[in-house]
Amino acid sequence: MSDIARNPERDLRDTGLEQAQLTALLLRLWRTPDGWLGSLTSVDHKVIGKRYILTAFAFLVLGGLLAVLMRLQLAGAERKMLSPDLYNQVFTMHGSTMMFLFAVPVMEAFAVYFVPLMVGTRNIAFPRLNAFSYWIFLFGGCFLWIAFMFNVGPDVGWFAYVPLSSLQYNPSKRADVWAQMITFTEVAALAVAVEIVVTVFKQRAVGMTLDRIPIFVWAMLVTSFLVLFAMPSIMVASTTLILDRLVNTHFYDTASGGNVLLWQHLFWFFGHPEVYIIFIPGTGMVSMIIATFAGRPVFGYTMIVLSLIATGFLSFGLWVHHMFVTGLPQLGASMFTASSMLIAVPSGLQIFCWLATLWDGRPVYRTPLLFVLGFFAIFVLGGLSGVMVASVPIDMQVHDTYFVVAHFHYVLIGGAVFPLVGAIYYWFPKITGRMLSERIGRWNFWLAFVSFNVAFFPMHILGLMGMPRRVYTYTPEMGWDNLNLLSSAGAVVFAASFAVLIVNVILSLRRGELAGDNPWGASTLEWATSSPPPPYNFARIPMVTHRDPLWVDSGTLPVVAGLSVERREVLLSSIADAEPHTREASPEPSIWPLLTAIATTVFFVGSIFTPWAVVWGTPPIAIALSGWFWPTGSKEDEG
């Protein structure tokens, strides 16, 4: 397969080659094979990143349609559009889809695409694992949605509290589908987290010391560690739930000494960091966009990075605030009040740094910055209502009401989706080579910003007026009709704002203005290569001498030479100082990650029907993994 296998003596390097010859050789070496079969073997982080982003957005659209259905049902009292059984499936599917199939994957997808470009390397670490991760994510998401189409959609909430999700109260396969979907998405998320950590630690361009790493990369590094430490908790939870349901263990069976609050501890030990897994990448995007459109480096780089790390640590110490009304000891609960409120400090510091950047910079009001400004208004409000729900007595009133629904939509849509849409406008030119329409972008922003607030602000009031969450209807005498109608109207328009985004993407793909390498005049390495980037990312690996390499006024970027042009190679560097260490082979395209993912899917899906699937499902996976890791005769293992 690789030249080196056939001709081990030859060792052609990029050192003395002409640019044209070099790019031709690199293109032949790094491109994804032709044809649809070839495309299935791709291990290019950009190809997989794009698939990941598009798939996550498809799930966003599906989850958003469910939200619209719910809002139509709740637009008036005692409406009968959705039956209670269907409504419960719909709100569970909405939450599960948005959290597990959209928010976490889309952030990881952006990292898969951009982290290698931002750190100046040719591919992500463990590219085949990356391909495997995408297929597992895709199959897991399809599994959940196909089950929903067959009326086996989970109906126990995205939190699946026991004993409601136990076999006794949920005898169909619905809760199993939920629990196994978790397994799929967690495997996918853990794989990407490992890749990001290794890419950031070992594959940074020479000279990109720790204090020169772009903030989005820092954010994704912290996020990846959160994934690594939080996800095992939910895997334990979902696995024990499946065991209880499938082979009659008693983890959550109170009659046999099990404990139902154990589930809540395990779930929220994951579930709270989960919020930061979604939000921290959003802050990373905000930092990047603000620096570019304020036209200066973001203020307080060190403070922002330390805030990100502090947020990551603190996020593991808050989970109990989801359980304030379960009858915990009062002093213990109040400790979690203080820790929950304290996480406002690092978030606040980041906001102050961004305000200082905008204050000192010269803001250019393009669509990405508009979405970031919208982020300020919405996220700060959501953060403040978060301080409110951190208080035990206040939480006793607002917990599990629409106040909390309002709060976390302000935090998650404000803190993650607004920066994300800004990031789409910001990086679309890099991914596709064309600009998104600025005119449609402005419509998109104002439509989204106004309708978001119309949809979600009234929910604060509804919650204080006593409207609980997860109710499929309410009686007319409660007096909740008007605000619900207003909220529903806002939700429909908010959904339409995403249609505007999609239209903009489709139109701009065809006839958007050509972008060029660096349309915004940004400072980070992803803008140093062409738009879209070639399969090998950089013809020569850049060398970094400054935190904002493209803003340093020195003409051209210094580069590193000496990498092979006959086999796929990446440059490994030291963790702290990014000194060049060694050349490492990077894997060729392979069909085995897909085959392994299919075998794994059969195993996962089969095991919700019979424990024997664990037995007969294992050999195909072992065979596929053997194919994956079969020695190819190169000097080193391809991994």
Binding site: Y161, A255, G300, A338, V345, L349, V380, M388, H399, W551
Partner: protein, 343 residues
């Protein structure tokens, strides 16, 4: 013609009734955190207002700084990396101060919160203890008096004396529910295999609505209840009345209703004290005739609603655990007549 005009009157009347209730409830807010009617809910409302005020000030301040930062006039910057040392230094100091202010604010709010928490959870020796057990999708209510003959069971409607601390012990018969009457105090979960408690002291007489606040399955939305706060002497009268067994029916239709109630198996799930009906799966119906609502706060109790409910409970509250009984209309009338006598 006659029929349609009758219908029109019906729609008109129900329309007026709905309008009237809307106006009335928006005034009283009978399930609102802001309609605080007990010591505990007043304390929560107090700190809620403090938090809202602080949050508003902070939000407005951040937005003002952002706005000023965006619109202020500034010098031209030749190159993005031309950073003024003086600005970096000054902004760094301001941010440090703002960070310290943020820390002090959230710590102060934590202390305020903890103070309120102590008030809300203050453990008064309760003069009235009620045990509430959550079921899918109704509330079993057991009053535990000093002596066994003062203990009785009812469902979905509690009454409490004004001015006396009431302790509610919370348990679940199946999945997790949450007991929440915003006008009286915050919610507390009914956790399977665990006993929780919550306490409140109603300040004013009135009917306060509550609702299950933890998702508990298909009819979570229709799991409401009311707490009626009564002056102490009225409360004692209510309690003594509830404590009595059901009166035996005296008229032939009522007697037939009682027989049918047993013959059709209603008594396998429902208890009517003083009769052979002793089922434990559904609500106690001993005094169903004096309740305000049926089906856990879903419908006002009147003959029409009660008949509709008995005829087809699945139509009104789909998925609830009461099966549809195939009753002839005369049987239905007899059972209805009997139940309405259970005052």
């Amino acid at each position: 013609m006659h029929k349609s005009s009758g219908q029109m009157v019906f729609w008109l009347r129900s329309g007026l009734a709905v309008a009237a209730t809307c106006v009335l409830t928006s005034c009283t807010g009978w399930q609102s955190s802001f309609n605080a009617q007990a010591a505990q809910s007043e304390e929560i409302k107090r700190i809620l207002l403090i938090f809202i005020a602080v949050s508003t000030v902070v939000w407005v301040a951040v937005m003002l700084v952002l706005l000023c930062g965006l619109i202020r006039r500034r010098a031209r910057r030749e190159q993005p990396l031309d950073i003024s040392e003086a600005f970096e230094h000054r902004a760094g100091s301001i941010i440090l101060l703002a960070g310290i202010a943020t820390t002090i604010t959230v710590l102060a709010l934590s202390v305020v919160s903890y103070g309120a928490q102590r008030t809300v959870f203050a453990n008064d020796p309760g003069t009235v203890t009620v045990k509430v057990t959550g079921h899918q999708w109704w509330w079993e209510v057991q009053y535990q008096g000093d002596s066994p003959h003062l203990s009785f069971t009812t469902a979905n409607e509690l009454s409490v004396p004004v001015g006396q601390p009431v302790t509610v012990q919370l348990e679940s018969a199946d999945v997790i529910h949450s007991f929440w009457v915003p006008s009286l105090t915050g919610k507390m979960d009914l956790v399977t295999g665990q006993q929780n408690r919550v306490q409140f002291t109603a300040k004013n007489p009135g009917v306060y609505r509550g609702q299950c606040a933890e998702f508990c399955g298909v009819q979570h939305a229709h799991m409401a209840f009311t707490v009626t706060a009564l002056p102490p002497d009225e409360y004692r009268r209510w309690r003594d009345h509830q404590n009595q067994s059901a009166p035996s029916p005296s008229d032939p239709l009522g007697i037939r209703g009682e027989q049918l109630f047993r013959a059709r198996g209603c008594g396998l799930c429902h208890t009517i004290r003083g009769t052979l009906a002793g089922g434990q799966l559904g609500p106690d119906l001993t005094h169903i005739g004096s309740r305000e609502t049926i089906a856990a706060g879903t419908l006002p109790r009147n003959s029409g609603n009660l008949a509709a409910w008995i005829a087809d409970p699945q139509h009104i509250k789909p998925g609830n655990l009461m099966p549809k009984m195939s009753l002839r209309s005369d049987e239905l009338i007899a059972i209805l007549h009997y139940l309405e006598q259970l005052q």
